[in-house]
Amino acid sequence: MGEPIEIVLNGARRRLDGVSPAMTLLDWLRGPARLTGTKEGCAEGDCGACTVLVDRLPVNACLAVVGQMHGRVIHTVEGLRGADGAPHPVQRALAESDGTQCGFCTPGIVMSAVAFGCGGEEPTPETIHDALAGNLCRCTGYRPIVEAVARCARSPEPLPPAPAVPIDHEARTFDGPTILHAPRALAELLRLRAEHPDAWLLAGGTDLGVRVSHDREVPGRVIHVVGVPELNGLAAHPDRIEIGAATTYQRLLPILTNHVPPFAEMIRRLGSRQIRSMGTIGGNLGTASPIGDTSPVLLALGATLHLASIRGRRAVAIDDFFLGYRETALAPDEVIVSIDMRLPSADEIFHVDKVSKRRDQDISAVLGAYKLGMVDGIVREARLAYGGMAAIPARAPHAEATLAGAPWTEATVERAVAALARDFEPLDDWRASAEYRLMVAGNLLRRLYLRSAGVAAELDAL
């Protein structure tokens, strides 16, 4: 039967008796724990007012459910004062730099800044904005916040010392109104999945958490997959990378930075650090959103997905995975175990473009990923994939056919651009009109060409 959830909170071990595992961490902190420093600004992961540290990484407390937190080390803004009661250097710096006005965003910003300090990164505009992308402030205009964060980078004493109170990581089932299973082996996961095809399969919860926190849904049963070792593999081979489905973006980034920089660049614009601390690549595919950012990239690279169920394992080409709007080839008893991604080779042009209303922490209006196999200036093979252009992330067969076998010239590109109109019926909504998306999809091809011709086309380089 159910076991208690235990966490280490601000240095002390806490048992969450009588708490449903599907309660959000934010509701628990602000409610039963009476720690109201952590704020709710949106309950959908976008404002950062609820930022706490989980194992020293910034996390949106509004999206995490307490069942996911078992055995983890959590810090909130209340836990930052030193043993002598003095405010943390970040707290002091932010106050002294006039980095607060109404103060409602502030605790979340403090936590992001502390995480940044813990990470020991070099403070550059790039790293600081990256660290703050998940925190909105409506009052200050950010300038003093950015300065305070820069001052506190690489702070020698980032956090009060962590306690020596290891928690039994073996706990597997928590219950309240919701039952949460945390299997520790693939066989156990597959058995649970087969027994409970209606249960929520939970990875990082950055999609599912929105349903709990924002939509106030209460799942009956949840299977939390991240404790399964087979879903956490991460291996780089000379020509490909194998990624466990439960790999978070945060863990994935270094390896992508080394092996597929354009993919890494895009991941840095997927959500915020808070989202990337928790969000997984398997979750992105499981959500199967037409505007999911990794799907077009995996389509362009021609990835293979490894699926498993108690009936056995199978490999599915990503081209065959997305069937319809949020509908995939996954059987009700199946899970994604890993993603096998071939790396682009030296004679291939590979690029990824994300276009959104705001540069940081925004969902794509259009995401384009392209891989062109080139021989002597001729396009041998073309894989062009887009998000936001149809009900599913999809390739552009007509445009690809136009390119294949043609010389990589402006004229060829123009023909491919024209062909795109036959490939897609783009989404038409608040993020962008269909007309805009189609226009941009074509312009991104033009930009790909300009780039290969050495024309300066990177806005962020200015």
Binding site: P87, Y436, L444, R447
Partner: protein, 785 residues
């Protein structure tokens, strides 16, 4: 003495903000037995409400009560100015998101789940969703208002040159980080204490009283701090509190109503979107001779604060420019959308746009720079200095601001640099833009320009300060405390500012229109000065010295001429005065002098004074995607003799970035059924840290004490700098114009999202290649209304 007027002081709660110890309403431990409320909102934009089926919701365990319009004991009316604006839809639903009922339950989750179970039966009616439709159908909230001077028709006909323009700007969601919230607690005799996140405690008191049908003295409203407001917690906070109060009254238990972000965004009003059409007549030098303009505002379904907003838009149509003949008609369009309301700038940011649009067009037509055209049109000194509403522009600092910002931004060199960059061609373009500002300070309604304060000096010399202003992050509390510190010449930390309460200072105005420190600063000054006078008289008698020789310096009262070395510590003096039976408590009151206004004729002197500013912005755009970046901004803002340069700088920077958001990435998007679909930060994008210009120089205009008798010669700062962001919009237009070598006008509505920028680029590009094909040189093209 530490912390007097004009010193840079940190926000009084800064450290509490960063440690998480500052308490917002939702952080207060709820009173025992507190219930939680949730709203039932209309799913349709316009319709006849036939029935609300509450049975399933009532049947849920934990549900205590559900109220609809019929359950309101007083008036179901939340109108702040006019009458007859329903709190709960009664018979008629007028926008998608309109409250229909409220559920109260033992937990928030139960209340929200029950609210979802209420089934509403609405017979839908055709809805008017846009300004254009409203204009077409003549749907207005009240008759149009006209600001006019001279003979426009004649001057227009006689003008050597004329052009027409049309322009739209969107609304803006406040996106205060702390959503709307109130806790109402019943006390005895049917009285209530309401904690409300409001900029206008007195209005909350009035609306709660009206809804419950009780006297004002039965309702006490308090607010210590808000997590942001920006105008969004004026009229909207009142009805949120009234719903909580109604439920508290009926259940006789404390009730909290906190709107989740989605409800907050669909149910509460925003900045008004506008449509402008204008014709402008000018001469060969670019001097404006006549302006005929239509300003159509989307007021939403009810009047709310629209008369004030539209009035301010009209009185800011001239901005810094002398327009001899003018007619500006303001149309308050009625649409089936949420009722729009106050938002930082209150119509000013919209009002200043058409003239900037016109100036760019005039400049292009005449082959001059926009800066030249602006300069010939600035209000004169001593002549050509009367606004269309009859107030003279005195102490005009626009030239000083423009000169300083031109110099500090290194305008000339950067203009050349940007042009050189653009001449290379390529998909990236840069643009440079300027904007000069004049903004009138005072509420447009003279009666609102009053304030009260209450100061106590305790017998240990510690001071408690209370005033009618509210703290929403803008630093009002510390500024007013500085005023009191200055009066008594004691350290700032001797003064404790306490929660705003209708029980302490009554009959207050909202903290709005940038007037917070102007009004409350003076009121506190008066209160403190009264006590100081009593202390002076007491000290003179007690120590047997002439009153003229008593002075206050450095936490002490000095009892003789300088150097006499007879001093008594302030606390000791307070103790002695108390023993001497001297009252150490006083109210203070202030009303702004000189102002008067005839709202029908639109003439008078609505503003005590003007605040000035200027900005230069540089942007880059990607002509393939329409994405843009602001690369640099230089701002100069007139703050008079700043009460607190640190706080004022924060207001300048924060307002600019907020204005930038309004003009660029913040887009409200309604679907064809009139439902707002950008109702959370996932879809409604306010600027993030990276969107702030990497080079961002905000300056307070040097050496500029106010000429009018403002508190210590300071000037208001809350709203004006928001408009400085207009420079970003003019810079974007400049960047787009470079695609056609600045030969064509650029139509660019706000917000200038990537999509609008790309479409503008495409239009310009298409027209340009067309004109080149035809072998034409300059193409004269203006959009026709």
């Amino acid at each position: 003495m530490k912390g007097g007027a004009h010193t840079a002081q940190r926000h009084d709660s800064a450290l509490k903000h960063t440690t998480g110890e500052a308490i917002y309403i939702d952080d207060q431990p709820g009173p025992t037995g507190m219930l939680h409320a949730a709203l039932v909102l209309s799913p349709v934009a316009h319709g006849r409400l036939k029935r609300a089926d509450l049975a399933a919701a009532r049947a849920m365990a934990g549900v205590v009560d559900i109220v609809v319009a019929a359950d309101v004991p007083g008036a179901n009316d939340i109108a702040p100015i006019m009458k007859g604006e329903a709190m709960f839809a009664d018979g008629l639903v007028e926008y998608a998101g309109q409250p229909i009922a409220a559920v109260v339950a033992t937990s928030l989750d139960i209340a929200r789940a029950a609210a979802r179970k209420v089934i509403v039966d609405i017979e839908t009616l055709p809805a008017i969703l846009t300004i254009d439709e409203a204009l077409q159908k003549g749907a207005l909230l009240y008759p149009p208002a006209t600001l006019s001077r001279g003979d426009v028709a004649k001057a227009m006909a006689a003008a050597p040159r004329r052009l027409k323009g049309e322009l739209r700007c969107g609304g803006q969601e406040h996106f205060y980080l702390e959503g709307q919230i109130a806790i109402a607690t019943p006390t005895e005799d049917g009285d209530l204490v309401v904690h409300s996140s409001t900029q206008h405690p007195t209005e909350v008191q009035h609306i709660v009283s009206r809804v419950l049908g009780v006297d004002y003295n039965q309702v006490t409203v308090m607010v210590r701090r808000m997590g942001g407001a920006f105008g969004g917690k004026e009229s909207n906070a009142s009805w949120v509190a009234a719903v909580a109060a109604l439920l508290a009254r009926r259940t006789n238990r404390p009730v909290k109503l906190r709107l989740p972000r989605g409800d907050d965004m669909v149910a509460t009003g925003k900045r008004h979107g506008f449509l402008f059409r204008y014709e402008i007549g000018f001469d060969e030098e670019g001097r404006v001779l006549a302006l005929d303009a239509l300003l159509a505002a989307n007021g939403g379904h009810s009047v709310d604060l629209t008369p004030g907003v539209l009035g301010r838009a009209l009185t800011h149509i001239d901005n810094v420019y002398w327009i001899p003949h003018l007619r500006a008609v303001g149309c308050p369009c009625k649409t089936n959308t949420v009722s729009n309301t106050a938002f930082r700038g209150f119509g000013g940011p919209q009002g200043v746009l058409p003239m900037e649009d016109a100036i760019l067009r005039i400049a292009r037509v005449l082959g001059r720079t926009p800066e030249q055209v602006r300069a010939v049109n600035f209000y004169g000194e001593g002549r050509d200095d009367e606004t269309p509403y009859g107030q003279r522009v005195e102490d005009n600092r626009v030239r000083a601001c423009v000169e300083q910002v031109t110099r500090e931004s290194n305008w000339q060199a950067r203009r050349a640099e940007v042009d050189t960059f653009n001449r290379q061609g390529g998909p990236l373009r840069r643009g440079l833009g300027m904007f000069p500002l004049k903004f009138g300070i005072s509420f447009n309604v003279p009666s609102m320009n009053q304030a009260g304060a209450l100061v106590h000096v305790y017998s240990d010399g510690s001071i408690r300060l209370n005033h009618g202003g509210t703290e929403m992050g803008q630093g009002l509390f510390v500024k007013v405390a500085q005023v009191v510190a200055e009066v008594f010449q004691v350290d700032l930390d001797r003064i404790r500012v306490t929660a705003t309460s209708t029980g302490e200072v009554p009959n207050t105005s909202p903290t709005a229109a940038s007037t917070g420190s102007d009004l409350n600063g003076w009121a506190a000054f008066e209160a403190a000065s009264t006590i100081k006078a009593r202390l002076t008289a007491f000290a003179a008698a007690h120590f047997d010295v002439p009153a003229e020789s008593v002075s206050f310096r450095d936490n002490h009262a000095h009892l003789g001429p300088p150097g006499a070395n007879r001093v008594v510590e302030f606390g000791e003096l307070a103790r002695l005065a108390h023993l001497g039976r001297i009252s150490l408590s006083s109210t203070g009151f202030y009303r702004t002098p000189k102002i008067h206004w005839d709202p029908v004729a639109m003439k008078g002197r609505p503003f005590f004074y003007f605040s000035f500013g200027a900005a230069v912005a540089e942007v880059a755009i990607d002509t393939l995607t329409g994405e843009s970046r602001v690369l640099r901004a230089d701002l100069v803002q007139d703050c008079g003799r700043s009460l607190n340069p640190a706080i004022d700088l924060g207001q300048i920077e924060g307002a600019f970035v907020q204005g930038m958001g309004w003009l660029t990435c913040e887009e409200l998007w309604w679907d064809a059924e009139g439902r707002l679909r950008t109702k959370g930060p996932s879809t409604y994008k306010i600027p993030g840290s990276r969107d702030v210009p990497p080079i961002f120089n905000a300056r307070i205009l040097d050496n500029a004490p106010a000429r009018e008798d403002t508190i210590f010669r300071s000037k208001a700062v809350g709203e004006p700098p928001l408009m400085l962001a207009t420079a970003v919009w003019t810079a974007l237009k400049d960047a787009i114009a470079s695609v056609a070598d600045h030969r064509l006008d650029v139509d660019l509505d706000a917000p200038a999202t990537p999509e609008r920028i790309l479409m503008a680029v495409e239009r310009v590009r298409a027209a340009h290649s067309l004109s080149r094909e035809r072998g034409e040189g300059i193409m004269w093209r203006t959009s026709t209304p």
